[in-house]
Amino acid sequence: MGAPARRRFISVLAGLAAAPLWPGRAARAQDDPFAPLLRKITGGATVNPGRVTVDTPRLADNGHSVPLKVSVVSPMTAADHVRSITLLSGRNPRPLIATFHLGPKAGRPEVATRVRLNGSQRVLAVAQLSDGSYWSGSAEVEVTESACLDAS
């Protein structure tokens, strides 16, 4: 192989080395089913994973009613508190489950409710803090069908 061909060959190899064979984290985020809805909710602001805990059973008794509690790490002072908590579903026909508006008078940054889950999925909770930042936590829930059909 002549010198120019060798240089071309080496530059092609270098190009291949630079391009990853499988997608890195940035590309995986684009596959994140929550990403488009999160962009709408946060106006494009980053959502930081952390500070938010989603407490829900690992195996739901019935997808019609699953107990779920969200808590956020926050001092809940006038200067530093949780403004809102939004619940998103990874699989429901309507992914936006609910938004809860708190504020400094809430005392404890916690909300509990019962949700409908349309099959096994990840549930995401996004908290907006008073400084405008967004934090998230999630939980995986297995949801099975009832053993016997019921048209009673």
Binding site: R94, A98, K105, A106, A112, T113, V115, R116
Partner: protein, 106 residues
């Protein structure tokens, strides 16, 4: 609409108290069909607001992803004796309200 609310009857000033509400409502998703194959129209309680002595301490926008006979629990700081007023409305425009009183010491 049948609803029940729960707050402590008494609390100390500054104490964080738990507030709970349960409302009888089908939270109809709009995805179900009756036995004749007709779609049952969507009708969910879409918003809930709670005022404590006139000031809003909690508000929620709810959707069909909230289970039937919705249950919500949140916290608030006990301030002065007075009244909690819970108000909600569903997609069909039906409104509901409940009140509860609290006595604050200290």
């Amino acid at each position: 609409m049948v609803a029940r609310v729960q707050i402590p009857q008494q609390a100390k000033r500054g104490e964080v108290i738990e507030v709970r509400i349960a409302i009888q409502h089908p939270m109809e998703t709009g995805f179900r069909f009756d036995l004749l194959g007709r779609a049952i129209p969507k009708n969910v309680i879409n918003n809930l607001s709670v005022r404590y002595n006139g000031a809003e301490v909690f508000r929620a926008e709810l959707g069909s992803g909230i289970a039937a006979n919705p249950y919500v629990q949140f916290c608030t700081v006990a301030e002065a004796s007075g009244e909690f007023v819970f108000e909600w409305m569903d997609d069909a425009g039906q409104r509901g309200a409940e009140r509860a009183s609290i006595t604050i010491s200290g």
